[in-house]
Every structure is written in C-alpha cells, then in structure tokens.
Symmetry: C3
Subunit: 354 residues, 3 copies
Amino acid sequence: MASYSLEEIARLVDGELLGGEGKEIKITGVAGIKEAEKGDITFLVSARYEEYLSTTHASAIIVSSKYDTHIPMIKVKEPYLAFLKVLRLFTVDTLKRYERGIHPTAVIDKSAKIGRDVAIGAYAVIDKNVVIGNRTTILPLTCICGGASVGDDCLIYPEVVIREGCKVGNRVIIHSGAVIGSDGFGYARDNNINVKIPQIGIVALEDDVEVGANTTIDRATTGVTLVKRGVKIDNLVQVAHNVVIGEDSILAAQVGVSGSTEIGRNVILAGQAGLVGHIKIGDRAMVGAQGGVTKSIPPDTQVSGYPAREHTLAKKIYAVTARLPELMKEFRELQKKVEDLEKGLKGGSSAEND
Amino acid sequence: MASYSLEEIARLVDGELLGGEGKEIKITGVAGIKEAEKGDITFLVSARYEEYLSTTHASAIIVSSKYDTHIPMIKVKEPYLAFLKVLRLFTVDTLKRYERGIHPTAVIDKSAKIGRDVAIGAYAVIDKNVVIGNRTTILPLTCICGGASVGDDCLIYPEVVIREGCKVGNRVIIHSGAVIGSDGFGYARDNNINVKIPQIGIVALEDDVEVGANTTIDRATTGVTLVKRGVKIDNLVQVAHNVVIGEDSILAAQVGVSGSTEIGRNVILAGQAGLVGHIKIGDRAMVGAQGGVTKSIPPDTQVSGYPAREHTLAKKIYAVTARLPELMKEFRELQKKVEDLEKGLKGGSSAEND
Amino acid sequence: MASYSLEEIARLVDGELLGGEGKEIKITGVAGIKEAEKGDITFLVSARYEEYLSTTHASAIIVSSKYDTHIPMIKVKEPYLAFLKVLRLFTVDTLKRYERGIHPTAVIDKSAKIGRDVAIGAYAVIDKNVVIGNRTTILPLTCICGGASVGDDCLIYPEVVIREGCKVGNRVIIHSGAVIGSDGFGYARDNNINVKIPQIGIVALEDDVEVGANTTIDRATTGVTLVKRGVKIDNLVQVAHNVVIGEDSILAAQVGVSGSTEIGRNVILAGQAGLVGHIKIGDRAMVGAQGGVTKSIPPDTQVSGYPAREHTLAKKIYAVTARLPELMKEFRELQKKVEDLEKGLKGGSSAEND
C-alpha cells in the first residue's frame, strides 16, 4: 500500500502545513470528509461540510484557510485541485494494473476492430463487428455482443455483458455482473395474454460514466436509453427502457427508474429510491433513500417518502405521524369534552329539545 | 432498421387507412400507446386506454372505429390481432439472429441431450444429463448445471446460470445474469447459530415465461418453486423458495417475493413491491410500486403503500397525511377553544370551584 | 431423492415415536416449522413457535415433550441436536456432489496456490497469487482475481466474481452471480463533477458465511468491508464499502446497507430493508421488511416503517393511519360543533363583542 508523509504531500501540492507538528504522519489513502478513516487525507471546499471538521476520522485535511480542528491542515489556494493531485498518488494506473495484451483464450470475431494497447482477459467473448478503443481493459469472462462498441481507456470488469449494438463512450468503468442492453420490459396485453414487443433500440453510455456491479440498463424499445457524460451508477440499479439520465447525476444502490423517465443533470437519487415511468426529474433535484416518486419534480427540489413529497413537508409529516397514536387519544378526549359542553349548555339553558 | 409505409401496413392488416393522408408516413417500430415514440405504430382495444389517444407520441394507431385524434388511424375489425401481425414485421427471427451450430469452445458433457437446430455459444457449459430442446439458443458463457432441462425454441442470453435439476419449458427467454435455482434461504436457528437447511427442490419455469436480467429465482426447499405459463418477470427480481406464480402474471423490476407465497394469475406487481412469505395473492390483484404486502389479498383487489392497503383507502390516507402538519395546528387551536369554552362556561355560571 | 421411514429416523436420533402409528410415514426432507411441506420433518425448541404446531404442513415433528398436535412426534431430550442429525441425512456431501479435480479448461495462473482435493470447473479463471484451500469447490465460469484467497471446504457456484485481494474464510458458500469486492461508490464532488476516489481496501468474509445469488459486497475505500463469522446474506443484497456485519446476523433478500454502517451480531434485516450510512445497529436488533433506518438502533430493538421507528409504536401508527380519512371527517365535525358552541355561548350570554 502506498504511503506518504504529510510533509511530502504538502510539498506536492505546494501547500503550507499549518502548525508544523504532524509532518511525520503517514498518509495511506484519500477519502471524503464523512467517509475518511485513520490514515486518510481529506479536503474541505464547501461551507456545508464544515460541520464534519470536528468529527472526521481523517488524519489530515486540505483547506483554503485555517480552521479550529483536531487534525493537521495543509493550506492551499484551491483545496479541491490539490486533493485531485493527492488522489492521483493513490490511484494505480489501470494500464499498469492489468497487463496489456490479448489472452489466447479470448474469442474475438474476425470482424471485430480492436484498438492499440488493450488488455483482453481469459475467456472474454467479443462478437461480430464489435469495436474496442485504445488502451481499454476487458477482464475475463466478459461478453460483448455483436455490433457493440466500447471507447478508449475503458475498464470492463469480469463477467459483464454488453448486448448487441450498445455504445460505450471513453473512460467508462463497468463493474462485474452489470448487464448493458437487456431487453426493455414491454408487452402488448390482450385477453390477459402478454405478447412481447420487440426491443430494437440500444443503450448508450457517454464518456466518464461508471456502472455498478449487477446493475441492469435496458435497451430502448426503439431509439436509445441514454446515460449522459459523468453519470455514476451504483450496484443493483435498474434503468428501464428509453430512460434518459442527465450529466453528472448520481444513482445510489438499488435505485429503480421506470421506462421513459427523464432525469436532469446533477440529480441525486439515494439508495432504493424508485421512480415511476414517463416523468421528468429537474436538474439538481434530490430524492431521499427509499423515496417513491410518482410525478415529475421541478429543478432544485428535494423530495422523500412515499409518495415522495417536498422534503421539508415530508419531515414535518414524519414528526406528526410519530405522535399520531397519542394525538388520537387526545382527539377522543376532546370529542368527549365537546359532548359534555353540549350537554352542559343544553341542560343549563333550557328544555327546548324536550 | 426495418421501415414500412403506413400504406404498406394498412394493406398487410387488411385495414382502412382513415383520411388517407399520412399513407407515406414511415413506421419503424411498434409500442404500447403509453410508451410509443415517433415512428412507432400502436393500437387501441380497451376503452380505458382512450385517454391516451390525445397524448400518445405514436405516429399511427390501429383502431376498430374512428376516433378524434391527431394521428393517422388504420381501422380493422380486430386491432389486437392486426397489431400482432405488424409486430411480427419488426421481430427479428431468433433462428436467423443467432447462427445455428455449436461453438467449438462450448463444453458439453457426453451425457447431455442436445436437440436439432440449436445455437450454443462460446464457452457455454452444459453439464451432465442436461436436456436441450430443438431450435433453442444458448448464448456465450452460460452455465446449465447437471440434470437441468431447457425446452424448445428458448433464448438464453449470455452469462445465465440454470442450476441442477431445474426445468425450463418452451419458448422461454432468460436474460443475462439471471440465476435460476440458487438455494432457498433457509436456516434452522438455535442458540443464535444458523444451520443451513438443504435446499433439495427445484425451479420450474413453464412455457412462454420471460425472466429479466440479474433476476434470481430460488429452488424449493423440497418440491418446486413454480413459475407458470406466460409469466413475465423484469430485472433484479427476487423469487424465494417454494413460491408459486400464476399464469400470465407480471412482476416489475426489483420486486421481492418471500418464501412459499402463492401469486394468482394475471396479477401485476409493480416495481420494488415486496411480499412477505406464506400469503396468497388473488387472481388479477395489483400491488402498487414499492407496496409492502403483509397479508393475503383477495382477487381483483388493488393495494398500495406500506403496509399495503386497498388502493382507494391508501390514496385517501396519502391525501390526509399531506395535510397532517396543518391539521395538527388546527387541532391545537381547537383544544384551546374548547378549553376557553370550558372556562367560559364555568366562569359564567358560578364560582363552584373557588 | 432420499427417503426414510419415521421409524428409521426415530432410531437414528434415539427418540421415542409417540403414539406409534405413523412409523411407516416416509420422510423426504427437513424444514423449519413454518416452511415445512408434506414429507418434511421439522422440530420444536422455542415456545414461541408452538403456535405453528396446529398449522404446520410437516409430516412429523421432533419435540422434547408431548404436544397436542395432528402429526406424529418423535420425543428426544435435545430436539435441535436431533434435528441436525436428521438434516445430515438429507444433505448431499459437496465432495461427492462435485467430482474432485481441475477441469482442463480452467485457467489457473502459475503463481496461484491450490489446495488438496479441490474441484475447479470448466472455464474458471484463477489469477495471480490466488490461494485456494483444501476441499474447496469452484464451479464453472467463476473468476477469482489477483491476490484473493479462499479457505477450506468452500463452495463457490458458477459465475461468481471475487475481486483482487479479497479474503474468503472456511466453509463459505457463495451463490451464482455474486460479486465480492466491487469498488465502493465514492466520489469527490466539486463544481458538480464527480471524481472517483480510489477504492483500495478489500472485502473479508469470515468462516461459515453464505452469500446469495447476485448479491454485491463492495470493497472498502481503505481497510476492510467485514462480514463476520456465520453471517447469512440472501440474494440481491447490497453491502457498501467499509460496512461491518456482526456474527450470525441475517440479511434477507434485496436489503441495502450504506457505507461504513456497523451491524451487530444476531441482527436480522428483513427483505428490502435499507440502512443509511455511518450508523450502528445494536446486537439482536431487528428491522422489518422495507424498513428505512435513518439513525442508529440500540441492541434488542425492533423497528419498522419509513423512517424506521420502534415496532410497537410503528404498529400503532399504522392502525391510526388506516383511520385517518374517517378521523379527518370527525375532526371537521368537531370543529363545527365547537364553532356552534362558541356562537351559542356568545348569543346566549351577552352582546359583549358587539
């Protein structure tokens, strides 16, 4: 495991080691301020992460100004850029990690076009007319079906399936077990028999997309299921046919997106959230964990719960809901009191109902 | 991509092109009225889909009588049958799509029985005593374990696993990454240690079943986990041991069905719905997306929410719930008023408490 | 299928066949009292399962004292130990089930160390410096990446991926499609671009762990994602980076656990439950199906619902919630009554507000 002293890192990023003590501390990894463990260096840019300064388990932090915290700080002008530099220290180059070359057992159709400096693992299957870009790594037991294309500098882990005709951009990472381009789930129903509608579209993953393990992205009925540049998808996510996901959006594990839904850019869908089909999620919207979204969401909106509602309202509802059983009692008491009052009033005033 | 003029299609289905303009329109696909995009032709049978007539993105529609809509119509006696004819135009024949023959790298045990006109892909593994029917297509890297059988005209995509002894009917489609016959999740618990109970049953998929990508169907503890004729299962669905799913039912993505639950015919379970074990879901019942079903459901019932309740009630509850925070305020006000009234009454009548 | 008469079983466990009739009954399997079907034998230890005595479908039951039930009983001192003995009757020995030896098509790197009496299936790929223990079974098309280790007596089903450096203990079972050690989902975010944080930790599965089909367990950012001894994980479960799961805990199908969450021992997470990151779940806690856990849970606590609340409270809330629409009406009526009372009081008492 790579290890650098804090002093070495400060020099690398041209930063000031505040206080000076701690320069011998060994840094063995990088992480976000919330996730960091002992040995990690982290960074602070947004004010909204300042609250984690006092609780982070990181061993050091890169900042743009001095803070009152328990761990050594490296002060730089641009903490995020500095962090990216440090991050590269701990990133093993894929080209070195996986030996270049084509394993003799890989089955590659004659019509396939394979780029320079690729690595293709044992028992990989690359079918007719597939195109593989330069420096791309395809690990063992992966299957790339007829007419599919994979760009440059991609990393395809073992046991991935990329179905016929699907297009994968550059620098895309696909984790094991992911299926790109399985049939959309579409049937014409009549007399209770479901007749399959041919799913003749494709999936396109643009540059810098990452797809998690055992995630499934269905091909379009016709046209394209489109995952735009920079989208990051976690494990066991379902993306149905004809969905569009905007640039730099994040889908956490076990999210499900139903057919033809359009997701804007920089959207965040937390774990196990589900979206019905044919709706639009505005840019920068956020859906809370397990949120069940039943209608379109405007940009910059946070929703949660089922059915998903604006998050501030949802939180109020949770608070009230917790007191419902008690409220029920109070309500019955109040009904009794009002009844008593009514009796009292009647009894006390006259005999007009007799 | 196949493309036909509307006129050609009208002729194929022996239909009348209403209005006549639009006969040059190019049709490139088929889809349901809700899912259809530009270039698709769709159809209308049930009155309950009429509401989509004005909003469908389809380029044309097959109907049984004239409607007031924005797209060209082809009028026929039986729209659904006509649609099936058109659908065939756009369905590529599996037999043509995947070249017949057994790839030299496929490992097929001597005891296996392989039908006529099959296609078996590279690195497929077919173990002892497996039976494969006629015209069935098994794509690369799929594993069919000892004693399993697959019927005629099936299509098994790459990287599927069919475990020992499981039975797959005719015309079944299984998508990549699906696992048929993994062990049921059963343990005998004592002193907090969980001892595995052998799962010695099988899974049987009847004719015309479709199983989505990365879906898992567990073998029975003893006996059979049974998926009946025509059932369509989407991606990432979990079907536990000893479950029975009735004919023509639909399970959308990420649904989970716990052990020994019995699902009737023509049931629809929407995305991410979950069913506890040992219950019965009546014929034609529907469970809404993310619905959590904790007890049996009678036939023809729609439920939603957690815990799942009759859908009409559930919708009323959602409506009231949204107003709960506000209601809480009103309730506190009302309590105050009643208190005031009580004081008023007491104060106004006598000094008996002094 | 193995089959034993009840008399044979009674003799095996040195038990008394109560009543005596039924000794000819054929037992073909074993199961828990709730799951048992015809032909199964089951057992009773805890009083809390007594309620199933009258409804179990088992053909016989092992007990420690006589009960009033409809099926034959075998009385022994220690029913659970007796049950374990019977269970072994029906468990096919893995060593016999899968022929020992290495299939000629398996690709095993020269640097890998392979134990005695292993079975390694067709097209398995075992990369550099992998260590495989004695008597371990690795089925076809499984990929074990560089530096990973698998202990003794493990059973790895077809199409599993164990990523680089991950450690698997003894007697571990991993079902088809499971991915052990996929990258954790971690990005540094700035100006809306997500930059991948290297995930350089590993996954460790301790002894006697079982991992379900298509389940994904992510490697730690740095350090270890740790699944302790005896943990049983069902299908399609997501375990994120740096999670720790305590001994003998159970995760049912489609559960999702977010990053760095710590789960105690003997915890039960029911199907589709979801846990946010960075929380602690106390020993013996239980989370109900679909429960959404947003904060730490003390030991011995049962929670359910979203957001997850103590189960007794949650049940009360469900009960009240079901009556909310009706309650709403009653509330409006009560408001009206109070208004009337106020009017009545004012009208009846004086003109002081005029």
